[in-house]
């Protein structure tokens, strides 16, 4: 139930602006990969190319290949909707659907697609997904209340529950904890560790400790200057990146000397 991702010679553009240049990276199935790097170096941009969310932005386009277990996402004829149902995404700001109850938020991927689901299947899917997101105990008594009535941390876990309810192969997370307090952050980090047994997880973070705590491998992105494209500088085991990086820039960044 999880697939690997291989990226080959990927260039990412906003119209004419080359935002990320020539990325090659292999992401193992059932692992957690962290993307780190200074602001504006293209982490979010690159992450969004992994489930074809980048092209939602007007002018957004890519060159190169992204292979999901060997299948190129960008081959002509591939439906981005299929891609996105296999590769889910959690955003920086929690964004539950304001018109829906907690339960409907979890079922959003099913219901919005117009799939019929029996009541008992729906209930067990809701419970399983909310348990998977460590939220079940907090919300089990108010599943019919609006999702926007939860705290920020709970909303973010609701968004994770919503994502795992569609049973993706890969989950992408763009700074999922940046709007959260340390306790909610810990809850989500624990969750990421559990998700790893079932899903391939890719997470963007500005928090070095977080990258070190949750990830198996870490990719360091950097940018030469404003207006220049971001690049993948170094990609290795997390332990190596933090203790013995081979590039000077990585060492400077993880030790806090710049960025």
């Amino acid at each position: 139930m999880s697939k690997r991702i291989d990226v080959k010679d990927l260039n990412v553009y906003y119209s004419k602006f080359l935002a990320v240049e020539d990325v090659n990276i292999e992401i193992e199935a059932k692992s957690v990969t962290a993307f780190i790097g200074p602001s504006g170096c293209g982490k979010s941009t690159f992450l969004r190319t992994l489930n074809r969310m980048h092209e939602v932005i007007p002018g957004g386009r890519v060159e190169g290949e992204v292979l999901l277990d060997g299948d190129n996402l960008y081959e002509p004829g591939v439906d981005p909707v299929t891609v996105r149902s296999q590769i889910g995404m959690v955003f920086q700001r929690p964004n539950p659907f304001p018109t829906m109850s907690i339960k409907d938020n979890v079922l959003a991927g099913v219901k919005l697609n117009g799939k019929k689901i029996s009541r008992s299947d729906a209930d067990s899917l809701v419970e399983k997904s909310l348990r998977g997101a460590n939220l079940w105990n907090e919300v089990k008594d108010r599943l019919d209340k609006p999702g926007s009535g939860l705290s920020g941390g709970q909303q973010q876990r609701l968004c994770i529950a919503r994502t795992i309810a569609v049973k993706p192969q890969v989950i992408l997370m763009d700074e999922p904890c940046s709007a959260l307090d340390p306790i909610s952050t810990l809850a989500i980090e624990d969750l990421i560790n559990e998700l790893k047994s079932e899903f391939t997880v890719v997470i963007v973070t500005h928090n070095m400790q977080q990258a070190a705590r949750v990830s198996d491998k870490t990719a360091f992105f950097n940018i030469a200057g404003t207006g220049k494209p971001g690049k993948l500088i170094e990609y290795a085991d997390t332990a190596t990146i933090f203790s013995n990086p081979s590039v000077k820039a990585t060492e400077d960044y993880v030790s806090g000397r710049f960025g």
């Binding site: 996105r84 889910g88 955003f91 964004n95 659907f97 304001p98 991927g109 919005l112 994502t163 569609v166």
Partner: protein, 383 residues
């Protein structure tokens, strides 16, 4: 006169306003504040002075109000400036001017409501509400005036006509307008077609209503022959007026739906049209509903386009696809312009005012309905 007041009030009021120094032992941060009773105090003083000033040149409520307002604004500004400093003085001036503008804007509204209620209420009864003008001739009106009997004849047919024509124009304009707005916001991407549509919608907003009426008449003349006058023609004319309003308001509402929600749905593998239908529109529906209601309220009072499209009827006609039809505005118009009995116009005038009251009530009910709809559909908040 105002020279007298400006010279006089500040001195006069300062004596009244300044509290004795004993009361000054207060929080040093709260220094230099007018006491709470200052505003009512100044208002009372302004009222007395205003009354005095207005009696000089022939007393009337209007001059009293105007003088009092002017004196109050000047006095409170000067006093606040002297006691609290120039910044607070300007604040007081701005506050008072805003309130004054608000009251000014309220006067015509209150006056219209009052007049319509006063003149319309006597004509409202079950006979008026549930009978048409069928068979009501000048002789009937003359008879009821001579015998002092209640006025016969009502606006039932016009109410039916108004409801049906408005309903049909809503049925035409809401889908067209909403789909146009969806195209503009979700698909158009500000391309040439989208820009052209926006331009023409803007042009449509400015179309005079009589032109819309002539357009619908001409259109149906081509389709059905030159004498085609019926409810649906009027509905088409009104939709020409409604569509741009619906497009504009729906567009604004769709634009404020956060992009994050669309992205969240896409990231769950939801197709674009489903995202629009099930996430974007439900999120914006309350705003769209009130926009549509405003559009209805705008066209429900149209007279000219109805006259040239649906004609005028005195009897009940529930078929918008055949025969002439009356609406409340055309009913009012004809009752005033060509009273049923040229010698005894009072019954007609009474019916016209009663119909005007009905029309206002209908628009108000519509607005309340829109609020209800908006409340029902609004994104749920709270726990």
């Amino acid at each position: 006169m105002s020279a007298t007041t400006t010279r006089k009030t500040p001195n006069d009021s300062r004596n009244v306003q300044n509290p004795p120094p004993v009361a000054r032992k207060r929080n040093s941060l709260a220094k230099g504040h007018l006491p709470r009773w200052a505003v009512p105090g100044i208002a009372a003083a302004a009222l007395i002075l205003g009354a005095a000033a207005s009696t000089l040149g022939g007393f009337s409520v209007a001059t009293l109000a105007i003088y009092t307002a002017i004196i109050f604004v000047i006095a409170s500004t000067v006093i606040t400036t002297l006691v609290e400093g120039p910044r607070h003085g300007k604040n007081t001036l701005a506050t008072n001017l805003v309130y004054a503008a608000f009251l000014l804007a309220l006067i015509p509204l209150a006056s219209v409501l009052f007049t319509v209620l006063q003149k319309g209420m006597p004509g409202i009864n079950t006979h008026f509400l549930f009978h048409s003008m069928n068979g009501i001739t000048g002789a009937v009106d003359n008879a009821s005036v001579e015998n002092g009997a209640p006025v016969l004849g009502g606006a039932y047919h016009a109410v039916i006509g108004t409801l049906l024509i408005t309903l049909w124009s809503t049925v035409i304009s809401v889908p067209v307008g909403m789909l146009t707005a969806i195209y503009l916001v979700e698909y158009g991407k500000n391309g040439p077609l989208a820009r052209a549509i926006t331009f023409f919608v803007d042009v449509m907003t400015g179309i005079p209503s009589i032109v819309a009426g002539l357009f619908a008449t001409a259109l149906f003349a081509v389709l059905l022959g030159p004498t085609a006058r019926m409810g649906i023609v009027a509905a088409v004319a009104l939709s020409v007026l409604m569509i741009p309003t619906v497009v504009r308001s729906t567009e604004e509402m769709l634009k404020i739906v956060p992009n994050e929600l669309r992205e969240a749905a896409y990231a769950l593998g939801v197709r674009k049209w489903r995202t629009i239908a099930k996430v974007v529109i439900p999120t914006a529906i309350s705003g769209i509903a009130s926009g549509v209601t405003l559009a209805i309220a705008r066209v429900i009072g149209e007279t000219a386009p109805i006259l040239v499209t649906a004609g005028l009827a005195n009897n009940i006609n529930v078929n918008v696809f055949g025969n002439w039809m009356a609406t409340l505005p055309t009913f009012i118009y004809y009752q005033i312009l060509t009273p049923t009995s040229p010698t005894n116009v009072d019954p007609s005038i009474q019916r016209a005012w009663a119909a005007a009251l009905l029309l206002i009530v209908m628009v108000m009910v519509l607005n309340l309905g829109a609020r209800l709809v908006a409340g029902l559909f609004a994104p749920k908040k709270g726990r």
